[in-house]
């Protein structure tokens, strides 16, 4: 069993209204010094098999086909 974490984040230059709202809420809670907030997604995925190279290739394909919208999002794959 291979455990992996996929992180999906918005590309630079893509407006993130939710991140902006969170930024405003942090300021409202008196957290000073928050430069900016960008919201993303995390997927924890368990894969059968033990070949890390295959797992990484599969996970990248999953990102390209479903987990990320590559028009607006980047992704990173991390094996535990």
């Amino acid at each position: 069993m291979i455990k992996a974490r996929v992180t999906v984040t918005l590309k630079n230059g893509v407006l993130d209204p939710q991140g902006k709202a969170i930024e405003g809420a942090l300021a409202a809670l008196d957290f000073g010094g928050v430069g900016s907030v960008r919201q993303g997604k995390v997927f924890d995925i368990e894969l059968q098999g033990s070949d890390p190279a295959k797992a990484e290739a599969d996970l990248k394909a999953m990102c390209d086909k479903l987990l990320a919208n590559t028009v607006i999002e980047n992704y990173a794959v991390e094996l535990a």
Binding site: V14, P17, Q18, L66, L67, V71
Partner: protein
């Protein structure tokens, strides 16, 4: 002219769309379910609005990967007209049948109101029933209608006349780039738009500004 409506769990504007197509074309559209792999021989396929799969992951993302969408892609490739309204638009971009992406409204609020839309290109299969530049009333109801495309894609869309509808008179409800409300693909046979023309087709709706879109697509308006 025959039409078909794509049904997916979580869509909720399918009845409105079926009623509009029935009234305008004089015959009820065929319906196809998400697991159907074939779509009957029709002139127009419509993906209605709603919240397919509860907007999980991204709006339209799950629906776009269902078997019926492969059949829609084949029909689109063969030249059949396809319209995606609201969630249908989101599904079409997620399926890669239209460029760009639809993001959360900049206000972060769900907007349900009437806006004004300008016909930016009246020379398409969907808009030939309108005058160039005509301003029409358009109901909208969505949370994620903020159209985005990278600079290169945007330049191509604008340059090739693929921006078909634009929010007008400062009524952009979602922060969409260049006030884009609806676009067509490069072949001009796939249209996606956020507003709901099916909800403004007869006097009982308080107006019929949306009717010409369906009349155009159904071949009821002369070119």
């Amino acid at each position: 002219m025959k039409s078909a409506v794509v049904l997916l769990p979580g869509l909720n504007r399918d009845r409105d769309m079926i009623a509009a197509l029935t009234k305008i074309s004089g015959q009820a559209p065929a319906t196809v379910w998400q697991t159907d792999t074939e779509i009957p021989d029709v002139d127009l396929i419509v993906i209605p609005g709603g919240f397919s799969y509860g907007d999980y992951l991204r709006c339209g993302a799950i629906a776009a990967r269902m078997p019926v969408m492969r059949a829609v892609a084949e029909k689109a490739k063969a030249g059949t007209l396809v319209i995606g309204v609201c969630n249908g638009f989101q599904i079409l971009v997620e399926a890669g049948l239209l460029p760009g992406a639809l993001m959360r409204n900049t206000s972060l609020k769900f907007v349900c109101r009437e806006v004004k839309m300008q016909v930016a290109n009246a020379n398409t299969a969907f808009t030939r029933g309108y005058a160039p530049g005509q301003i029409i009333r358009s109901p909208v109801a969505h949370h994620d209608g903020n159209y985005f495309a990278d600079a290169e894609t945007l330049a191509r869309l604008e340059g090739e006349g693929q921006v078909v509808f634009r929010y007008a008179e400062n009524t952009n409800p979602n922060g969409s780039i260049n006030d884009i409300a609806g676009i067509v693909n490069d072949k001009g046979n796939v249209l996606g738009l956020m507003p709901h023309p099916e909800n403004l087709i007869e006097a009982a709706h308080g107006g019929n500004d949306g009717r010409a879109l369906f009349e155009s697509a159904l071949g009821l308006k002369a070119a």
